[in-house]
């Protein structure tokens, strides 16, 4: 469903040089799979997701969504995509209902289909209480639920989620995780990037560990465990990117990282 091949992105730096933000990343995601793209800040996760969703052009390589090359036919590729980030904003002066109607019409849905889908999502995400209020006055959790509904309006086969639970309270966090799991079970291909490795362990069926723009490890949890000789994702990550010793040298207490395999 999602095919990423040798995706590379270079950015100009203020010193006049070039920074290799993403360096030849390759992976595939099948329908029904939840893929966790994990890595520290600045590793290149967001840039990778933006290239996959057509917001940023790759310097080289390509991404295909449901067989459509994102660079060559951006509009068709985006039809298969639902996109959600923690920083995604809402139109402050529209209500969630107006917002969903807008995005439904924008992706070319017929009026009847828009209304039906909108009511479905409002029910499913328990939004009826605030569906007619202005988005500007909603709580963070209500906003994120509205955003999820927005991403799902066209019922796309692929979902890209960049830090979807960042800054959410426990209850909303649960709603979002349940939703991701449910959508995966419905056969959607989901790519998710997060800092919360516990969440990723619970949700994702496969992982891509990214460090300094390169994919340092890729596979299921058991594949990664056997390769790194560690059990917890955090330990596997440190091991694969060669940072474990460095962290120990710094004297940082790694008791929370040191699991059974250490």
């Amino acid at each position: 469903m999602v095919e990423v091949h040798e995706l590379t992105k270079l950015f100009p730096t203020t010193e006049g040089g070039e920074k290799r933000a993403v360096d030849g990343i390759t992976f595939q995601i099948a329908a029904g799979e939840i893929y966790g793209l994990l890595g520290p800040n600045g590793a290149g996760k967001t840039t990778t997701l933006r290239m996959i969703s057509g917001l940023v052009s790759p310097t080289s390589g390509y991404a295909r969504l449901a067989g459509v090359d994102v660079t060559a036919d951006r509009e068709s590729a985006k039809r298969n995509l639902g996109y959600l980030t923690a920083s995604t904003g809402l139109y402050q002066r529209l209500s969630p209902r107006e917002l969903l109607r807008y995005f439904g019409e924008l992706i070319g849905m017929e009026d009847e289909a828009v209304e039906k889908r909108m009511e479905e999502l409002i029910r499913w995400l328990d939004m009826s209480e605030f569906a007619n209020l202005r988005c500007g006055g909603l709580s963070t959790g209500q906003k994120q639920r509205t955003n999820i509904a927005r991403a799902l309006m066209g019922d796309p086969p692929i979902l890209i989620m960049d830090e979807p639970t960042l800054g959410l309270d426990v209850l909303t966090n649960r709603v979002v995780l349940d939703f991701i799991r449910a959508e995966g079970a419905r056969g959607k291909a989901i790519i998710m990037s997060t800092h919360y490795l516990d969440e990723a362990e619970l949700l994702c069926s496969r992982f891509g560990l990214i460090h300094e723009g390169r994919l340092v490890g890729e596979g299921t949890l058991s594949e990664l465990q056997s390769r790194a000789g560690r059990t917890r994702l955090s330990e596997i990550f440190l091991s694969l990117c060669g940072k474990e010793e460095h962290v120990l040298d710094l004297g940082v207490g790694l008791s929370h990282l040191k699991g059974k395999g250490s």
């Binding site: 917001l55 139109y91 107006e98 927005r150």
Partner: protein, 773 residues
Amino acid sequence: MFRRYRRVWVVYKKELLETLRDRRTLMAMVVVPIILYPALMLILVEALRKETGRRQAERYQIVVPDEAHKQWLTGVLTRDEHERKAIETVRSTTSTTAADAGMDMAGGLRATLRAEQLDIAVAKKGESLWRLIQDQSYHVGLLIAPPPDAKRTDDDVNHVVQFIYRDTDPRSEFVHDRLNRIFGGESERIIRARVTKATGNAASLEPILANSLSTASPSQQYAKILAMLVPFLLVTMTITGAMYPAIDLTAGERERGTLETLAVSPVPVGQIVAGKFSVIVTIAMLSTALNLGSMSAMVYFSKLDRIVSSANMARQQESVAVEHWIEKGAGGQGGTFSQKDYLDRRRALEVEAKEKVGFLTKAAPIVLLAMVPFAVLAGAVMLAVCSFARTFKEAQNYMMPVMMGAIIPALVVSYMPTIRLEGLILVMPVANIVVLIRELFLGNANGSAMGICLLSTCFYAIAAVVVAAKLYGHEAVLFSDVGSYKSLLLRRFIRPQPRPWPALVLLTVAILFPAYFYWQSFLVDPSEGASRFRVVLGLSQVLLLAAPPLILSWYLKLDLRETFSLRAPRFVHLMGALLMAVSIVPVASMAGQWIAGLTPALRPSDELFEKQASLLTSGSLWTMLTAFALVPAVCEELLFRGFLMAGLRGRLSNRWVVVVVGLLFGVFHIYIEKIPIVSLLGMVLTLACLNSGSIFVSMIVHVANNGLGLMATKSVALQQFFGLSDSAEAMALDSRTLVFVGVFVVGLLLIALTPRTKEAAPPILAGPHHVSA
């Protein structure tokens, strides 16, 4: 087709709804015109009225050196009071109509000084008047030389009145000013008395009585006032109205984090930008309409128009009428103006005032219509500029130079009434619209000038919208963390591309157009001799038409072969080009005459054009052909069939590329009467280049058209060969002409129906660099 653009409507509906829910926009669009203008006007009028009332209620202290001065001054004030009361009596007997309202209001805002307001004191012996005024004990001091003498008749003596006052004290200044006027009136009365005494007829005071009559109708007089004020105010208010939606829909959206969501939707950026742009224009036009309506209402209800125009005129006529009436009533000479005449004049003024108010109502729709292209341009420029900004605040900073860039020329042009809608003004953004509205008010606008003005404005607007679309979804603008604008501008960050993009070519042409227009209109001076004319004309072609696209293509790492269609033509296309080349002169001449017949208003009439045409054929054949056939043809082909055509090919269908490139080619040829035929020629050349894939095909035809056309003006044999006629009558459609038409059509068909050179796929070195095309 409409279904394809349904999403523009979806974006439009949503943005309009959201914009109308934005308090800032409503403030700028509704509150300012509907509440602020009338409120400001009311406050201003009320403040003036209060000030007048206060001045008329106050008492003022005057100091004179002795009792004789006091008596003299009291006498003057009494006579002035008598005259003023006489005027008031006339007004009270005639002021029965509504037309007096404006004049009354005007009068009400003008404070008068009455005798009972003045306390005249006599200074003590040895007291200095200077010191008394300096100490602020009195408002004004008066010294009269020679000192007044009760035994003498003042009418026989000339006096010098020395005022002592403080011009920094408003009360002192007011008394000084009003007393000055009273003394002026007294002086006139004395002169009249002296002349009447000497000659028995005061009419000899006016040996020449100048009486002016303007042929301008009341509407035109009113239009003159409106023409000065309204264009500037409307331009300012349209920009203000468009500013907030422009910022909110671009930088505001980016700042709120909704742009990312929109950019990831499967909607072409062009359609999103078109929807947003339509909202900005709608809001700008709503703002314009509300402002115009509010201004009209304010003018009407405050009777400002009568204060500004009628009242001035009426006041003059009134004073003349009253003066004559008083003279007549006092048994003076020249009393040919009765109270009935005066009343009739006042009634006529009332009709005029009504007509003038009616004019604004009639003019408003025309003015609104003329503001549409400006609103389109303002909206487009603001959209493009705001597309660079990442935050609302940043966009506001960017807006300042844009506002200044629009308001300053509008202000300058508003106060230069001699500027007409001609020359560079025709294509100068903002200034052309301000002058156009003024000309519309004055009834001077002509169709062709209006056409160029509106076309050029629309063209700039399209270029700005396309640039906005290009920038809108660009990753450097979308995400601050993925690079800076350097990636857009510095050559080393630019990735090679096969062809220019529409925004680039339209922006280039939009910038080159006024520059080329200016060069052609002002720098190419036929009176400075043929050789200089050739050099300046040639330089304009090389520097403004050929160099910019070539330099840009190099800098932006475009594929020169693909951009300028630099390919050898197929043999069959070459043959087609040659057939067209040998027949284009008679065919173009026939088509030109045919078009001229259809559009008689566009027949060449410009003296400059005639003079330039005569210079084209001066000098040796070689010089003439190089300067006017080869260089222009090559340069124009590089810009139009090369750069412009390549840029538009990525966005428009071939049919529209032919039409747009042809029209722009026509518009660049300055003279309005040449536009239709040159546009047609441009379309043919574009079609030839597009189908053959080789710029050399259109170059051959272009060079032949220019060269053979010029040679034919020198060679009678060639004229006869082509069957050209000097007369204005249409060329006869004889067998010779038919042969030329046939040859031309065969040539065109050879090019149009034969596929272009088979070649490798365009050298796409990499995928498109930007999010949007």
